[in-house]
Subunit: 270 residues, 3 copies
């Protein structure tokens, strides 16, 4: 039987001891646990970035994986800690919207999904600090889960969990899609929240506006076109990305997480 | 039986091959070894920062864990390599003070603790470079230890191991505690070397001076008060921290590792 | 039997989900796979830096280790994906020169070595993105290899794989060695491509020119000499390094990856 697998996603950075303290706590509770870091370099308190990063990683792991997410600006305050189960994966996180792109919305909730508030102190560390629930609450819960403690023992299901606003694109009165840049990655690719099929199924053409630039070229690889020219590409995430061959589209455009974009149907520029 | 666990703490950074070369060497000697990184982002040669980071991580790991620490400005010079055993944990490191917050001082040495100089070349790599004892000496020793080689085989115990000065606070003639900032973490929290019970047991109040600011507010969570206002909080380390809600106290105060602070009893400001 | 070991070397950085998505895919195909990161902080598209970093890490791992390298500026274009076997290790990478310091050149090819083009889509993910072959092609191949799929099933051997130019030093008409800086490491040590035996076997002395500085001092440890003074040292890589005691030789000299250096025999400065 494979050993239990726990992934970690935090905004703790690589220099501090925080992620290691969590892993130590978990190995103490579940010596068989194995860890894979998704990232500890989420920008501090950046919930939308964390939600996106999680959404692009969890789905490639085997069923049964436990995902531990600690991006927690409200630690020690009123926000609830939760355990979500969705599509055969477990998510242990603060209830602050960081799971917004993982837990299906009601409209698409054909998938079996449950969210529980973590209320059973039996599965926390005996002394709970006010500032580091990652170590004292979330990590021990993830480790007990890895020890096959049934989900129901951690607390009751809830339905009013927090969802981040603005992550989904919307269609305006003119038929254009209003979206945002979810993240600029290390290469300066601007990952948008516009699903690629908005372009792929667009028989009559399209144009995409970001700042004062208008793009209408769909590339098929990053290495296409002259270096530095902006283009749109179907990203590995399934979303449209704005990129530039061996340059940073983030630098070229000045755009960043949250920058607004507009996708219009038709070849004309309006 | 669980596989042997080795943690790593270095100032090697994430870009170079140094940490991976150490792990490769260890897997060659002990194929069952598992690794957890505490951090490779200690500032180059920053012994006090490394000592603090280690002190906040090791204690959460299970007994028997081997901690490999390579922050080693004196590599190839006269500094000794050591193996310490304390509280059921093993520490393999250069003898340059990096273990100062881990090995109990004489005053508190009720705990069983031994420190050995690593002198047995049988447990080093055959060819010892002058610049990378992490790979050629410390990693192989850690791996042989993981293979259950008894500690006594690595060398004789010593008692004159190196201690960093200035890590402990001291009380001045006026009854005030003189301390320092040990580290600014990623969030800009200033972790001091003042144990939190100095405030918690202070019936008559207190005030804490950092630079030209005087703080007298003890918060119970990071998310308390208006954004940007400085406060004191009992940190997850058990030390007092100076923080600001969703801001960097390090930026607000200009303080950094080594900045001096003063804690005075009483509500009045003197 | 030890579990299969896969190392990762990429230019993906630590903030994005890319490395984790690759690990998730690999655990799905080969649940027993274990991972050790060499680095994800290769500068974007920096093939020579990646080639050097790989050359300094792979050799310390046990035989049978699978090394997965994704520094891939040509992703989605015409470059071929390859699987190389050399000295009992496996290398899965794009064919863009990143293996130049690992696969022996013809002159030294006494070692058994084979390079295959990855052409069998049976071992790729069903849907191949244009922008992330790390996740969709290289990671699944590495995981199937970890499952002991024979190398020959992935594709046919090739002989015309890509080699980076300029990584080897050459001797000029005056008998001087012309070399380059391969990399400045985190400490500012300048690692050159000049093997240390060029100095060690030089009975009549030598001098090394970098920019307008001439060095003729061979140190035996980093901690030698006054802080800040430049010296040459036999690096842990087997190459000559230019270093400065507790300072950055990269900052002192302004040199970086690719900076030219000249090593002349004899004590006189010509």
């Amino acid at each position: 039987m494979p050993r239990p697998l726990i992934t970690l996603l935090t905004d703790f950075g690589a220099a501090d001891h925080y992620a290691a303290a969590m892993k130590g706590v978990m190995r103490g509770i579940c010596p068989a646990a194995e860890f894979i870091d998704i990232s500890h370099e989420v920008a501090p308190y950046a919930l939308a970035e964390a939600a996106y990063t999680l959404s692009q990683a969890w789905q490639y792991f085997p069923k049964g994986t436990i995902h531990l997410i600690v991006v927690d600006p409200g630690v020690g305050g009123a926000r609830r800690p939760v355990l979500a189960k969705s599509a055969g994966h477990y998510f242990v996180a603060p209830d602050n919207g960081v799971l917004s792109m993982v837990i299906p919305t009601e409209a698409t909730s054909g998938l079996a999904c449950s969210v529980r508030e973590l209320t059973n102190p039996k599965y926390f560390r005996p002394s709970l600090s006010q500032t580091f629930h990652g170590r004292d609450l979330f990590a021990p819960v993830a480790a007990h889960l890895a020890n096959r403690v049934p989900a129901a023992r951690f607390g009751r299901t809830i339905v009013d969990w927090v969802r981040l606003e603005g992550l989904l694109p919307c269609r305006d009165a003119n038929g254009a899609w209003q979206g945002i840049v979810l993240k600029a990655d290390r290469f300066g690719n601007l990952i948008t929240n516009l699903p690629s099929d908005l372009i792929e199924n667009s028989g009559k053409g399209w144009n995409l506006r970001i700042g004062n630039r208008i793009l209408a070229t769909l590339a098929t690889s990053y290495s296409e076109g002259e270096p530095g020219k902006l283009f749109v590409i179907v990203g590995s995430s399934g979303y449209l990305e704005i990129s530039a061959n061996q340059r940073s589209a983030a630098v070229v455009t000045g755009a960043t997480s949250g920058t607004r974009i507009t996708l219009r149907p038709g070849r004309g520029i309006s």
